[in-house]
Assembly symmetry: C2
Homo-oligomer: 357 residues x 2
């Protein structure tokens, strides 16, 4: 896909649980921002129900078709943990991770911002919203997510199950370089998270590449935290972070905690970026399918809506992206403790975007 397509072709995968509910609101806001004819949308019926109906998670033809799009919007996939009809990991590994890996989405970008006035669990430690504003650059195509592992003597008292974390200089370098470039455009600070005192091989590689690439960016100050220590800093002092770079699993963990301290997982957007622009990038809320609240109209679509800003930015429309961000911020500032229906939030943000245009 080109970096700034004239009339982008967008694949939409609403998915499971609350996925369809929040994607509907994201599309509503997107249309309010760019108009009804700026983009072409193709909907894909994939996820738990599709698998139950057809026995297929994602076939090769569909994958090949998705690979030709300019971007993908994804709601959420995954059955409830403990579901007896859908095997654990089937949809996550067969659909979500399959897309991230097959479409070489090397940078999983996850911004966290504490909007002024937003209820968060850290008050009164974190009083001033504007201070907490950082981005996690999570590696998206390697590590423990590579799917290398297996089980010997499965189901017996002598079972041995392994999982292999695979880390390449190529993969580590491109995500670290991206993070440095991002840090330069922000406040100029980059923190590496790993656990190199235990994971000495993978950690050694991450350290060496980080040190090497840092030489090209003298304007960026750097720091290092072990992942365990990082979970402490995320609670006691999240304002210290500007850009964080880390591997796939540590990035998964720290971004959920980051969401928790900045108002909740209902607000956290993400972009799975194919930095080479050879395949489409994919935009999705950090949250999952949340089967427990699906169908009730109480899911917060803000994360999905903010993901649209990341998509517009990626598609070369930073001004449209900024309009969505401003509308989200305005909506946040006006929130009370009253619960709003999913579509009310979408309506409110859509009309804020329209009003500001």
């Amino acid at each position: 896909p080109s970096a700034a397509p004239a009339r982008p072709n967008i694949a939409v995968i609403p998915g499971d649980g609350i996925g369809p509910e929040v994607v509907a609101e994201a599309l509503k806001v997107l249309t309010a921002t760019v108009g009804p004819d700026a983009f072409t949308f193709t909907h894909y019926d994939l996820g738990a129900d599709h698998w139950l109906d057809t026995g297929e998670v994602l076939n090769d033809d569909t994958l090949a078709d998705l690979a030709t799009k300019d971007a993908i919007i994804l709601g959420a996939v995954g059955a409830a943990p403990g579901s007896t009809t859908v095997p654990s990991g089937l949809l996550e590994r067969g659909l979500l991770l399959k897309l991230r890996f097959a479409l070489d989405q090397d940078v999983n970008l996850r911004p966290s911002k504490l909007y002024p006035g937003v209820r968060n669990p850290l008050a009164p430690w974190v009083t001033c919203g504007g201070d907490v504003d950082f981005v996690v650059v999570r590696e998206g195509t390697e590590g423990l997510y590579a799917g290398n592992g297996g089980s010997l003597r499965k189901g017996t008292p002598d079972e041995v199950a392994t999982e292999v974390s695979v880390n390449t200089a190529f993969g580590v370098e491109r995500v670290i370089r991206y993070a440095f470039q991002l840090a330069i455009r922000r406040r100029g600070h980059l923190t590496l998270l790993h656990k190199h005192n235990v994971l000495v091989h993978a950690g050694g590689l991450w350290n060496r590449v980080f040190t090497e690439v840092s030489k090209e960016f003298p304007g960026v100050t750097t720091s290092y935290l072990h992942i365990d220590a990082a979970t402490i800093a995320m609670v006691t002092d999240p304002a210290r972070f500007d850009v964080i770079v880390t591997d796939n699993l540590f990035g998964d963990i720290i971004t959920d905690e980051a969401a928790a301290v900045t108002g909740g997982i209902g607000l956290a957007p993400s972009a799975n970026i194919n930095t080479a622009h050879t395949f489409p990038s994919m935009f999705e809320p950090v949250h999952g399918s949340a089967p427990d609240i699906a169908g009730k109209g109480i899911a917060d679509p803000t994360a999905a809506i903010s993901s649209m800003a990341l998509m517009l930015d990626h598609l070369g429309r930073p001004r449209d992206a900024a309009r969505i961000e401003a509308a989200v911020a305005a909506d946040m500032a006006g929130r009370t403790s009253a619960t709003r229906h999913t579509s009310e939030i979408g309506d409110a943000i859509a009309s804020l975007v329209a009003g500001a245009s």
Copy 2:
């Protein structure tokens, strides 16, 4: 070692950084509790300085000697991240993890309790201290800590570094069984943390064993959380936890976050238990060597002191353990925002123990 030795032989490894400072206070409180002659102590000079002096981290004779003790008290080991004299992981893997693995310390027990009145980052969400009181049962001898991994073409642009998580039915079952037994003696709820939707092999094993063992404990209610979701619950609703069981790495991560939300890493004790009683168990604060504050007398020895309560419990002296716990709680309740010297805190808790006897 026997389960309740008459005059226990205790190995003391003060270690690096703030290790010696906090261990001195722990021994002070221990002596105040059991008297000067109840235990025999042997000090071992191991850690960064010992390595720099001798080139040895832990030789076979010392390990064999340690293996004959009734218990080990450890301060902290590890040089500063980025140290140029001590290779990353040398002391962690060569000393701390070597002991945990060689002495088959399968259960790494880490209680978290929010004492009433203790300053914590979650106020006002968590207002009533007594509600947050849980124990993490972290597996101690497997997983990504097994040290299986390597690096191909190290230091070149084509490097591939791997880390292998090894999980056995044997290792997973004993720690899960321990956790169920602990849950029965507590509030009867056990939560499994893993990431079985991605780590399907290891996660599958953990799930199967958990389900199997749960049948023997109909009085225990169970739940499951993915590790990423658990970092959210730990911030927004830590009171929901009673006993948590998880693997080595997830346990490392969640216990640091747990410490952060219950008053800080300076308060978090741990026990590395050899449940078979074939080797000594090891008692240490969760915190590390904290080189940045070493030598300043500002380290909080409470975690090391509370670890002594875990040791006394393990050595068959639950009443002495309870005396230390009560003294720590009393000291906490009286804390103000004024900083106290490391030894002041030790003195205060020691005299509370003595006064209550």
